[in-house]
């Protein structure tokens, strides 16, 4: 499992180490996620992004209050102003999102536990199809797949 130190080594040298902001597939992915949410919402009260990175997706979640959980201090230090860093979920959220985190190299069991503890609306799970671990989030109400870099990206929406 990737340690916090290894994660910090990714984020420390420069912002946006995976080039999300300049890679067309990630710009597409973000727009896809947000349009799905606009269709499902369009507006949420409290949103939580677990494994928020630098807040690339998080900042535009359609919610009145946006919280982000991020292990890396360097990444969380780059959160946009409208994203509040927290260490554990604070109460219930009507939108819980996590993208690219439920992989074997991350602490997926902890992330799953956090999601199930605080979700009180919809859960959105995004990531690379072949890498996502098969957790049970309840009733799946939507599922999308699209080309993403050299992989298939997915977004699955659940009601817990």
């Amino acid at each position: 499992m990737q340690s916090k130190r290894e994660l910090e080594e990714w984020y420390y040298p420069r912002p946006d180490p995976w080039d999300y902001k300049t890679t067309s597939d990630d710009i597409y992915r973000k727009r896809f996620y947000l349009t799905v949410l606009e269709n499902l919402g369009p507006d949420f009260d409290r949103a939580l992004d677990i494994g928020a990175g630098e807040g690339y997706i998080t900042t535009d979640l359609p919610a009145r209050e946006i919280h982000g959980i991020e292990l890396s201090d360097w990444a969380a230090g780059r959160f946009p102003e409208n994203v509040t860093r927290i260490n554990v979920p604070l109460g219930k959220y009507d939108l819980v999102m996590t993208t690219g985190t439920l992989y074997k190299q991350y602490d997926h069991a902890k992330i799953y536990e956090q999601i199930m503890r605080c979700a009180n609306g919809i859960i959105c799970i995004g990531g690379i199809e072949d890498w996502l671990l098969p957790y049970d989030f309840g009733e799946q109400i939507e599922s999308f797949s699209f080309p993403y870099r050299e992989y298939t990206g997915v977004l699955r929406v659940y009601k817990p």
């Binding site: 896809f32 349009t35 799905v36 269709n39 699209f146 080309p147």
Partner: protein, 177 residues
């Protein structure tokens, strides 16, 4: 299922093929496929009463404007938000369709780019080709995504017995009189 869908874009008094007047839309007795969806369709929604058809949404322009297309159209217009399009579909006999994210000519794109463009962020059975342009490669990808019907305005067939006819349906414009 909408094999005689007519095409319209804007509702307004502008002398251009992207515009129909309220009277022209009202006089159309066939199902109408609106592309956009332009805000002026929402603003003139009362004339959609007793009409049916499809609202073909372009993902990148939801809630934005048509600056990207100004070399082809006469004036700046705004598009509906997704909420407004859904409201139209809820209130009237219209279904939501997909018109790609960016309105690029699909025949010029890679397979991966086509698949991205035709993948809608909501469930729909209906697809409209940007500029009406398609080829066999584009059709195969559109089919693979699960659409039941795909429409053109510049090429295609009206005979539904032709091979792949449901993916190359020719749409006439709503009559201009």
């Amino acid at each position: 299922m909408y094999t005689n869908l007519r095409l319209a874009h804007n509702i307004g008094n502008v002398n251009h093929s992207n515009y129909h007047t309220r009277e022209q839309i009202s006089a159309c007795n066939d199902p109408i496929g609106f592309d956009g969806i332009y805000k002026n369709v929402y603003d003139n929604q009362d004339i959609l009463e007793n009409k049916s058809g499809v609202m073909f949404v372009m993902g990148n322009y939801i809630g934005r404007d048509n600056k990207f297309d100004l070399e082809h159209v006469p004036q700046l217009e705004n598009y509906c938000t997704l909420t407004q399009v859904k409201e139209l579909c809820d209130k009237y006999d219209f279904e939501i369709g997909w018109h790609t994210w960016s309105h690029r000519n699909l025949t010029t794109l890679s397979d991966k780019e086509i698949l991205q463009e035709v993948t809608a962020p909501f469930r729909t059975k209906y697809f409209r080709y940007p500029g009406g342009v398609y080829d066999d490669r584009v059709i195969e990808i559109v089919k693979s995504v699960g659409y039941e019907k795909a429409y053109s305005v510049t090429q295609g067939v009206k005979d539904m017995n032709m091979p792949n006819a449901q993916y190359k349906i020719y749409s006439d414009y709503v009559d201009f009189n």
